[in-house]
Symmetry: D2
Subunit: 338 residues, 4 copies
């Protein structure tokens, strides 16, 4: 249920609404817009409460149900686009934000070479995994904290913020000491213990869509993050599973306009995991920008043939440089810039 307050509503009037919600057993969540406040009243059975319970409170303009299952991430709760600011870079605005780097941090030489290349090519955020979710327990699973330290060093040296994955609720505090953006991988999209823990922080978080989840389930996972008070959520489409084997996953290009319609959160696209092969990455990246994505997350490796993880889908630095030129043209064609 959404309670929209008059622009002139007092702090007291807002608190009255929250108190009323609490007395009915619900929690509430405030969206402090530039000229009005909207309060989401949240609980499993809010639809059983008559809207009149709130309509007549002072300062209230309208009361309405949120029709979608997801609430805090919905456009109904917040009509204007959300911007997530990371070290001065705004995600969700006019700029198309390119994040790039290797799948995994392997060693100092590799991550520094990658950071340099990424920066030179014009990307503005460095990606690199220290804790990897690997399908097999016998595969390389990342350098752990040593990898985080290397990322932090790259950030210092090249003046570029970093994004890295966190996979265990017990690691959240550790990872957010090093990372500018926490990444939740596709396999963990419904790891609710992890989401809840990240929700407690106010740290920017990138939430990848699980490869078999609907858009509705994805936005409900975002609600888990936002319920804890973390509004700095960036969505990331990375492809869904199907029967075709020329590409690793099938990028759901429609999800971009769908998210734009039903949610206020920014959405970026990972063309590398979707495509699964570097030759396909440029086409998918350009398509994503043309469709309205707010950014890209691209795998780049100084030497893909020697990559410990995901080599086949990684671009070389010179491929990235070429792609960035093309992406700039496409961004301009749709009224944005990189």
């Amino acid at each position: 249920m959404i309670v929209e307050m008059r622009p002139s509503a007092t702090k007291e009037e807002i608190e009255d609404v929250v108190r009323k919600a609490t007395s009915l057993g619900f929690s509430s969540h405030l969206n402090m817009g530039s000229n009005k406040v909207v309060i989401a009243i949240l609980g499993e059975i809010t639809e059983q409460v008559p809207e009149e319970s709130f309509t007549h409170l002072p300062g209230v303009i309208t009361v309405a149900q949120i029709c979608t299952p997801y609430k805090l991430s919905s456009r109904e709760f917040k009509s204007e686009d959300s911007l997530v600011s990371v070290d001065g870079i705004e995600i969700g605005g006019k700029r198309v934000v390119v994040m790039a780097g290797p799948c995994a941090v392997e060693n100092e030489e590799q991550i520094m070479a990658a950071a340099k290349a990424v920066k030179q090519a014009g990307a503005c955020i460095l990606r690199g995994g220290a804790f990897k979710t690997r399908t097999s327990p016998f595969s390389f699973s990342g350098l752990g904290e040593a990898g985080l330290r290397l990322l932090a060093e790259a950030r210092e040296r090249f003046g570029i913020p970093v994004i890295t994955e966190v996979t265990d609720p017990r690691d959240v505090d550790l990872v957010l000491r090093y990372a500018d953006i926490l990444q939740v991988g596709a396999r963990n999209m419904q790891n609710f213990a992890l989401l809840t823990e990240i929700g407690r922080s106010k740290h920017p978080v990138l939430l990848k869509r699980n490869f078999a989840s609907t858009v509705t389930e994805w936005l409900l996972a975002a609600d888990y993050l936002m319920k804890g008070g973390n509004n700095r959520v960036i969505l990331c489409e990375r492809g869904v599973r199907n029967f075709e084997d020329h590409s690793r996953f099938s990028l759901d290009i429609c999800s971009i306009p769908v998210i734009k319609r039903f949610s206020h959160l920014p959405i970026i696209v990972d063309p590398s995991h979707a495509a699964g092969h570097y030759l396909l990455v440029p086409a998918v990246a350009k398509a994503a920008v043309a469709a309205g994505a707010d950014g890209l997350l691209i795998e780049v490796h100084p030497n893909p043939c020697k990559a410990l993880v995901d080599g086949p889908q990684s671009l070389t630095p010179s491929m990235l440089t070429l792609l960035m030129e093309d992406l700039k043209s496409v961004a301009e064609a749709v009224g944005r810039y990189i």
Copy 2:
């Protein structure tokens, strides 16, 4: 198996190769390139025949197996892009060809209004169905030959070639008297009787991908058309089926670079059937052009609310006009034009 001939090979030498193939129980198919001839030797067990059977024939440079299951539609058989020319419009070249119109021809007023709008917006081919494949036998299934006549009339009046679907092998001769391009719908992609019949004509044909077919199966269906001698094949991606319900199908954006890599045939995209909702169509259309599609097939209706078929996914004429402007910018951004 592919036999590549010397540029200087004589007609006699080429015929010798064909005769040899015939004597081994195989058929052969010639690709007369600008400066050389390549001969595909086709049959179920060509890999069991030693390459030496052909290597030593006069005029032969190289003999190789085609590694993909599809042969005539493969890049291995024909390395340069194929262009399909329709009434002077080249599909597969620099120009991105936009085909637009209503799902079904309903009556004279509707198809003429549509044709006028399509032409004015800058699209260059008119679509409209006279024989419709409908999931229910109780739904409107098109006007049949009366619809074809209206299409032909629109072509005359507005000077715009037309594309229309054929669904029954017994109707091929009828439809090609009216249509500039025959369309094979997704449900008929593996209707091999229909494909074989169309293959006998030399008429341009648009082959939609079935919503549960792999790229390999799609190119094998193209081989059915080409085996009969019809090389004027245009592929059309229109989305595959999955679990997501915000869009009707999931457009396989990766299929565009995949087709460009493995086949010489042009590929266009139908954003309307993939998206299933007009609000999603522009984003998907722009993405397709950015990813390298050679054209688009867009549903437009003078009055979508009253459309007998597929109203929710149809653009109005004014939406099409706006979209065309955006598409021109995107096409230019990737080095093409509309």
Copy 3:
């Protein structure tokens, strides 16, 4: 819309209802039950006609809408199970009917050996393809009419009815001269020209589910057959496509109770195409019978290693014999027999 007549309704009263339907632009279809007649009124917009148009006609008990998109195949139209009788064998009754044989008729020796084995193992219908739908145009596509003649000969020699596929509407008349049951393959489930042609005959027909079609689309395809007046429809589940590659398709075991709930038509299962490997076939066959399938369609070949088509998924005759014993036990466990 369904109009249920009193048990005592006269022929004249029934004709009045049909006439009324015709006058409103609808067609009608009669279900002559043992003690009452139900009339389906069919057309795209029957829900816009007030039920009162029929309620007050003499002989009418009730008028109701059919809620499902499919009509003639629905339980709402016909509440009792339909039995399809083939040469004295009833499909849809207590007996679980096993149809078995090779994917393709290859030559006289092979089909006679198969027929003998099938008969000896206790299966009661022989399968064998003369017109094959092959993904590649360069694969063996069946013996055509020569294959049909061999099937007919096997029927004579071993006293066993035969089922065989028809793939082209122009072949329907030919195939039904030889076959006891016409088979529509998965790829042709929505080949509406073919369905319409078969609907005109009154010949038993087995309609395979397409590997990417919903149950609703499948029953609508059955409606195409029944609309023409052919009520002798047998459904066949053969697996849907997904991402798993240990089996060729994923048999939708739930479709059996779903069909039993929403349709009156018999349903059998093809475990061979679903599994794609002979080792998996027995488990799937037993599961199908336990779940309530009315029969099975199993691939058996005298020498699977030399089969021209689908060898890996074919049982040998001795495997079939063993499986039949197990199937008998399972059938009894669920109150049926083989």
Copy 4:
């Protein structure tokens, strides 16, 4: 890599092999069979080590690569079926083990009524969730430890072991104090932090297949559990996601014989989550037993209409009683008992 030791191999010889593996940077895992020992040598690049490194060690019979990506859960590593014993009940043997109960523990009255019904119907393990993974953060998520205490009380009162889900690695110690079997839900199948934590315990664990995971990924998740030394792993198939909406998921019936072929672990089936509707549950349950499942996990609620979670797919106690009778017959038909 697998090193098979002579039956007469000494402890010392076994230790030599393990030491050699360690010196090469690999870990090793012992399968102590009744008359021989097999040692798995595990690491990312074992295939790069010559088999000769081990062949000539004393006591070694053969050295071989494990061809599948999963190792410890593979039949190649352990050829005989694994039995998981829970409170005297063996899972994976002749008996088909039925686990039943409500989706969530709601209160004392409900869980006691459920436990009584489950016991009376002849099921031998009680299920009930205290920590629920819910798609929405605003849904009831279980009673937590209070729910565990109620489960433990039901176990005492009715003498029936209990299975319950654990969703957070930090809760593993807590949950295993109450539960006889830990359950890993489908959404957590690749929550590797959770798997690793459970792997450290030696507690029986039921690993549900994720609804978009392949059999290979599922067995690799089992390897995560086994790598830590926990061999008491039970697999549970509960359906994969597809486009059909009559059932909630599509039960992959083929996965049963596939698992039996490639793995030594027991496999049970959850028909309730797959079907999503109680009317479909009996058919799916019977199919699973006929196909060779070692057990079932069925949702039963004393009053499904009032269930807080998953009411539509829950059986009533009397439905369970009827189903158990049918399941006994089917189990006998395939040479097993309940």
